[in-house]
């Protein structure tokens, strides 16, 4: 981050005579000085916990019992146990499913659709719809979670509505827990994608779409061949942000299903919480956290590679 901010003036004066070299180095150093506190704070509060958690995953640290007193370095043991744990593949799959269905597909597609529709909607409709969508996003996570629990509950709003038209709804949280939490996360997160895409679509030069229209492109073709390539950067950024955010969703699932029934909605954050805090196996829990970090990294690399936001 620091390197991208400073070099512009320094590069402009690259042809300065040799004697100026030393003062310039000093001046560059002084220029970086104001960044030091920010870098230190970032290091302590962002990088620190990550490094600490990474280290913790190689120990048998625990909250109670003998290993709380003197945790020891156990190498890759936590990871070996994790790979052998029958709950792990299931949890991994549920996590990937949750991310793909609710973030990549749900939030992005719905967000983009809303953004496109609202562009051509009447101002009143636009205001009402965007307010409603944003409200879901503005609600604190725990409040939204309880609201969704009440909505999907056996005797909740959804089944009451279905009952009013003569359909007996399933017990959502029990029979289809993943569907319930995925829909919940789509509801909650769509506003963010909608805002990002509204801004991006507004930036698309009208003459591009006009020209396409003149050439006889249908609305669908205009979207695929003109608008999407133009807002590629926003798509990439938005996919990255929603993926990482969804990967770490905990409260929503914990409140709605508690990871159950059984382990049918235990994504990795729920599993990590259970191991670290319910069973007091902090070391093992941090190993799961590290795996989550890796999954996030894989998604990020895929997005950056496939969408190449830096190349035009």
């Amino acid at each position: 981050m620091a390197t991208t901010l400073a070099p512009a003036p320094a590069g402009a004066r690259g042809s300065a005579p040799e004697p100026g070299h030393r003062p310039r180095a000093r001046r560059t150093a002084v220029r970086y000085l104001p960044l030091v506190p920010a870098v230190v704070l970032l290091g302590v509060f962002m990088l620190g916990p990550v490094v600490w958690s990474f280290y913790g995953s190689f120990t048998n640290a625990a909250l109670t019992g003998r290993n709380a007193l003197a945790p020891s370095f156990v190498g890759l043991q936590n990871y070996q146990e994790l790979l052998a744990d029958p709950e792990f593949p299931k949890s991994l799959w549920l996590t990937v499913l949750f991310v793909l269905a609710s973030a990549v597909v749900g939030q992005n597609v719905l967000g983009l659709t809303l953004a496109m529709l609202l562009r051509s909607g009447a101002p009143a409709v636009r205001t009402v719809v965007s307010t409603l969508v944003v409200v879901a996003w503005v609600l604190p996570e725990i409040v939204a979670s309880f609201a969704l629990y009440a909505f999907f509950h056996d005797a909740g709003t959804l089944n009451a509505l279905l009952g009013a038209v003569g359909i007996e709804g399933p017990t959502w949280l029990y029979e289809t827990p993943m569907l319930a939490v995925i829909l919940a996360n789509v509801w909650r997160g769509t506003a963010f994608s909608m805002l990002v895409y509204s801004a991006a679509v507004a930036e698309v030069p009208p003459e591009l779409t006009e020209a396409a229209r003149m050439d006889g492109a249908t609305a669908r073709q205009r979207l695929v061949w003109v608008i999407l390539p133009t807002i590629r950067r926003s798509v990439s950024t938005n996919l990255m942000l929603t993926t990482l955010q969804t990967l770490s969703v905990f409260t929503l699932i914990y409140v709605m299903t508690g990871g159950g029934p059984g382990t049918d909605s235990s994504t990795l954050p729920i599993l990590a919480y259970q191991e670290a805090f319910k069973f007091a196996q902090v070391g093992y829990g941090t190993a799961i956290a590290t795996v989550m970090l890796l999954i996030g990294a894989v998604f990020s690399v895929v997005y950056i590679r496939s969408l190449r936001p830096e190349v035009d």
Partner: protein
């Protein structure tokens, strides 16, 4: 330009310095005065400990002006309470001097070095012999030293709604002598009124430890098998008793003698049972704890003045009526002293004040606890507090304690998983028992298990 830059740097530096200064403040005594920090749970309708410690603080500070008592009520459910207490204990600056400690966490917290052995202090306390032996045992660490002074204990048994049982032709002094008796009564209730839930036995992960202890262990300890072999210190796998207990769960849930799995897997089932189902006559029999009247008393969560006329109690029978005929499980809470306390003598003095006869009596009555002091147990006020006190106190004779090793939490979870699998029909009893055995071997290691 330069000046601006310097000012910015100075401002930033100042920010870092003040942030640092903030964190290093706090702590430290104010010359001679002693501060005793007491950590305890305060959650939902459990405010009895909070009320007790508030009064203890007022009384003790009045009598000892140089001592300040700092109360740290931890507002968290049972599971989260252990976690938060453990996190507090990990750092000397937050570790409490006195803590409200569950008996089943004592052994592992001793291993973790969180607790102070109290033997020397107890030797000099003339009221220590008032405590009953069984309760004292619950405060022992693996090294045989005492780490917790018991505040109260509990037992478990069958609660039944006499009005519901009467409709099914069962007497008000119903006393089953085997599991079959219980099942027959449940079937009779179902036949008399299909709308009523005949029998509730907690099961599955959402109810956590209640499933393991009020549900599964109340069954298992009524068979010839155990969860853990105390003599060899090994966990029992592959026992017939384990399969029979799971079989009982499967029977009641598959025959519709229990709540539906959806109802049973609601984490709020506990308050639904005591606050709605039993008072409204929607549940016949509940396998539950001695503390139930706590929520029905005036000022409780769901006041129900008629409860003592409507509700009956019976001991949970053993599987086929074998000796000793009844079974119960006990837990309970203690007061323990933090290993890092600056002033163990003062901390112990506060402890003895909080658990003197008067306070122990009050806590037992208000919290519907089984008294652990003989002088309290003999008090008419205690015996008259509610009509079931004597019944549940007598169950102490047949009670069992959980094997509270540091692996227990994970084994308990494996039990809940097995229960949930059979109650929902996902696995047969044999499959669920086999999965449990594999899980236990995984948790404690093959060398620490023994075939049952």
């Amino acid at each position: 330009m330069r000046q601006v830059r310097l000012t910015a740097a100075a401002a930033a530096a100042l920010l870092v310095l003040t942030a640092g200064a903030c964190s290093s403040g706090g702590a430290g005594g104010d010359g001679g005065a002693t501060t005793i920090k007491i950590a305890y749970q305060k959650f939902g309708n459990f405010t009895q400990a909070d009320e007790l410690f508030r009064d203890v603080k007022a009384e003790y500070e009045d009598a000892n002006p140089d001592v300040t008592i700092e109360l740290v009520p931890i507002e968290a459910s049972q599971n989260d309470y252990f976690t938060k207490l453990a996190l507090m204990n990990r750092s000397p600056s937050t570790a409490p001097d006195l803590m409200y400690e569950d008996t089943f966490m004592i052994k592992s917290d001793v291993e973790a070095g969180y607790l102070l052995p109290l033997d020397e202090h107890l030797a000099g306390w003339d009221e220590w012999d008032q405590f009953v032996e069984g309760a004292k045992a619950a405060g022992l660490g693996d090294d045989g030293k005492t780490y917790g002074v018991p505040m109260g204990t509990d037992t478990r048994g069958l609660w039944f709604n006499t009005e519901v049982l009467a409709k099914a032709g069962l007497p008000a002094d119903w006393a089953p002598t085997s599991w079959d008796d219980v099942l027959e009564a449940a079937r009779a209730i179902k036949a008399a009124d299909p709308e009523v839930i005949p029998l509730n036995v907690y099961s599955g992960k959402p109810m956590g430890e209640a499933s393991t202890m009020q549900g599964f262990e109340m069954l298992l300890y009524g068979t010839d098998d155990r969860l853990y072999d105390e003599d060899s210190g090994k966990w029992v796998v592959g026992s017939q008793g384990f399969r029979d207990a799971l079989g009982f769960i499967e029977t009641i849930y598959s025959e519709g003698l229990a709540p539906t799995p959806q109802q049973a897997l609601d984490p709020n089932l506990g308050s639904v049972v005591s606050g709605e189902w039993l008072p409204q006559g929607r549940l016949g029999i509940a396998l539950d704890g001695s503390w139930m009247p706590g929520s029905w008393l005036e000022g409780g969560e769901a006041p129900w003045p008629e409860w003592s006329e409507v509700m009956g109690t019976a001991a949970m029978p053993t599987q086929d009526g074998g000796e000793p005929g009844a079974v119960s499980m006990s837990g309970g809470w203690t007061l323990a002293i933090g290993a890092g306390t600056q002033d163990p003598d003062v901390a112990f003095d506060v402890l003895t004040h909080a658990l003197d006869k008067e306070n122990a009596l009050r806590f037992a009555v208000e919290n519907s606890q089984i008294a652990v002091r003989e002088d309290v147990a003999a008090e008419p006020e205690y015996l008259e507090a509610n009509p079931t006190t004597k019944f549940f106190s007598d169950l102490v004779e047949v009670t069992h304690f959980r094997p509270a090793t540091s692996d227990y939490a994970q084994v308990s979870n494996a039990i809940q998983v097995a229960m949930e699998a059979v109650m929902t029909g996902q696995q047969s009893v044999e499959e669920a028992a086999a999965a449990y055995d594999a899980a236990v071997v995984d948790i404690v290691g093959e060398q620490n298990t023994v075939e049952g």
